[in-house]
């Protein structure tokens, strides 16, 4: 893919949950993981992660705790809560349905 796409509104929360599903991460780590997972195809404004994280924390889907990085730096690590894990599963299936529905439409067009 030559150009990178802006993240769709509302999907960022899903991506953040997915990024955290493997291991707890700090903010910068999440941005790196997203880039890595999407093979640089998704352009996430790094700053926009934070409102998303706070939103998720408020909903009780993630929990933030201060910890230390391997470079001995203080950082706030976010991990998925049980609710977060459930929500991730739900949203992933929703997303798949949505994508396949859109796909169907697009195939019919062509």
């Amino acid at each position: 893919m030559a150009t990178s796409a802006d993240v769709l509104q509302g999907t960022l929360d899903l991506l953040v949950l997915k990024a955290l599903s493997l291991a707890p991460l700090h903010g910068w780590g999440i941005s790196q993981r997203l880039q890595q997972l999407s093979r640089d195809a998704l352009k996430v404004g790094q700053g926009s992660l934070y409102p998303s994280l706070y939103r998720l924390e408020r909903k009780g889907l993630v929990k933030g705790e201060w910890g230390t990085t391997e470079n001995n730096r203080e950082a706030k690590y976010y991990r998925l809560t049980a609710a977060g894990r459930r929500s991730l599963a739900d949203e992933m299936s929703d997303w798949r349905q949505f994508v396949s529905a859109v796909d169907l439409v697009l195939v019919a067009e062509s």
Binding site: H26, G27, W28, S31, Q32, G45, Q46, G47, S48, Y50, P51, Y54, R55, E57, R58, K59, G60, N71, R73, E74, A75, K76, A83
Partner: protein, 876 residues
Amino acid sequence: MKRARTRLVERFHLWLRALLFRTRVETEMDKEIRIHLEMETDNNIQRGMSPTEAKRAALLAFGGVEQTKEAVRDERQTLWLDQFVSDLKFAVRGFRRQPAFAAAVVTLIALGVGANAAMFSVVHHLLLAPLPYADGDRMVRVTSTAGGGRLLTSMTTASVDRWRARIRTIESITVIDNRRFELGDTARGPTERIEGVEIAPGTMAFVGMRPLVGRDIEAADTLRDAVPVALLSYSLWQRVFGARIDAIGRTIVVNNVPHTVIGVMPREFSVPFSDGAQVFPSFRGGSPDRSVDVIAKLRRGVTVETANREFAAIFTNLDKNRSEDAPRVERAIDQVPADVKRTVYLMFGAVGIVLLIACANVANLLATRAWSRQREFAIRAAMGAGRARLVRQVFVESFTLALIGGATSIAVAAGTLQLLSAQSQINRYTAGSRLEPAVLLWLVGVSVGTGFLFGLAPAIFVSADRATEALKAGNRSVAGSPSARRLRGGLVIGEVALSVVLLVASGLLIRTIVAMQHADVGFQSHGLSGVQISLTDKSLSDSAARHAILEDMLARVRSIPGIRQATLAVKIPPEFVIGTGQLEIEGRAVLASDSLSVLNLTIGRPDLFSVAGVRIIEGRVFDSYDVLTDRSGEAELVVNESFAHRFWPDGGAIGAKLRRGNGSWTNIVGIANDITVPGADRLSNAVQFYQAIGASPFRATVAFRSDLPPAAVLPAVTLAIRAASARIKIGSTVRPDDRIAAWRIEHTFTLRLIGAFAVLALLLAAFGLHATIAYSVAQRTREIGIRIALGAEAEDVMSLVIGQGIKLSVAGIVVGAVAGVLAARTMRALLYHVAPSDPATLIAVSAVLVGVAVVASYSPARRAIAVDPVEALRSE
């Protein structure tokens, strides 16, 4: 279920933490973002960038740091508080920078809201919650009248007992006697007159209160031989006994009878319908015919009408005196005379209008300020403040101003109330008006409401996204945009229109008062005076001697230079004597009409007609009493025009015979013109009968007509009376002119208040006009410069600017005239010989407003012609 709850608890915890430890959370967020940027920078350096480049790239990748923080705060939801605090700080800083602006706004609001709250407290006290008791809305006063309500009579203890046994719609009924008492021992020194209420056992239960200290009045206290006891008001207890508990059992002398103090009432206690009473002696013994005031409590759900119907129904089944009516119940609100209610409503409307004008003015000021701050708004928008955020900022500012103004308005309201209670004519009704909780609540509500109203204008401006345009366009084009001008113009037109409404009302009142002053009242009040005398001294008990003294006195009075005529009457017009007894016309069935059981009489000597200037239209004046037999005059009377017309519409009144009650028959010998005093609706066609005064009355009024002012002849009249006999007691002086003026008091008082509000409104509107024109001149400096450069004369520029002011004011006048005529219809009852759409008033008001527009735009116009075209063109 449980999970949901823990989540809720957690959320609440987060929110609370954010709220309480706002700074900590804020630093945490700062720290988190800083660390993020450091990590990204390190990463960039590892990928081979220079440190500065790495940092720049990190910032770029992150996006706006401030926007992010703002967005995070948004998510945290304590945002409103943060923003509120910062908006508040910002607003206060802004006001500090422009103290004159802030002071102007606060003053406008304080005046508007303060006057409004004062009037509301009158409305509240008088009409909304007149009786501050738990069952206040069910408490009524039972009144008895005669002659179809024209004569107030009193009920007796015996009749109350009879009613108590029969009436079903009333839950409880109790007697009180509200009067003035002499406090103190006359033998010991000066006494004091205070208001008091004699109460019966059960009055406390009726009100639902208990004495603060001591005991209540009991049945035993009312026995004829019981020791007289009294309860004290809280204030009297403090004043006389220094609030000492041992006041109980001590003695106070009331009406020269020592009373034992048995208790003290709480501070907020008062007997319904008897405000201001300070001492509450117990009823004692007394005859069953003793007249009393009666208060009662309606059963729950019973209306005044139902209760009155029951009273009337029972009444018709009872033996009754023909002249008496069935008792009626009245709520406190029914006791407020219609004219007082009218005045209060009018005032309330007037202060509402003043408040609206003040609001419009403040809106105008705020809008101007918003327009001059468009760069600031634009910059804030560019820095990440959303439109909603800017609107909120504007509203925080206007609400802050409104609340400061509201707080200041408390003083204005208190002052206004003080002023109102200094007006003796209405203080009876306004005296109890206080800034009570309900009024303060109203005040806060009105302040917030005004804050919203005048915050709208700048908010509309901000939200219309003009701010961002402003950055692009520079200052001129936006502020001068048609919609901005329309808004400002609309506000000013509204202000002018509202002040027109008040001016029209004032103008109509002025016309009414003038018409009243010139009205033909049916007698010559001007120059007429009276002095009340009484000849009750024992030495004057011989009627022949009394007659001689009176004749001598009249001769002396008549010989005073400046006095043309003098005579005797019981009362002189426009006052009259009330006579009772059913009227009977010979040859007709007994007239059952209630209005004929109470008659208005003027009793005087035959020459009273010429002294008072009452004309005899037909027939002749009655004869005077014969001195020796003391008879003939009794047999003749004069009736007024209305009376004659009522019973003899085709003429023929003269010669008819009448009698009252079981009195002797009298002949109608003449018809006099009606006496009508404008403003005194109840008294129109006041006097129905004229009859002769006895040859040697014990009490009379010396009526005289003089070309000199009353004050100039009174001393001589007093001397003449004394010279006739030192035994004559001289009472008060009666001046018909003053009496008539007193009936106009409602009008003069209303005029004074509405006039004051109208002047205030006019000043505010002038201020608004001036500000708008001045601002528009400032906006159009360039255009004016060009005009001048192109050769426009000073007069052209002047007329351009003043013309704009006149245009705005004419638009306001048109709108206001229509509204004013509509509003004036509601005060029709107050108008006399003036139509609500009186052209003279409308023309005068329009002229005043056009004049004000010219004056208000004069100084901006001067500024406009002083524009230097070169400067003006360069300034853009």
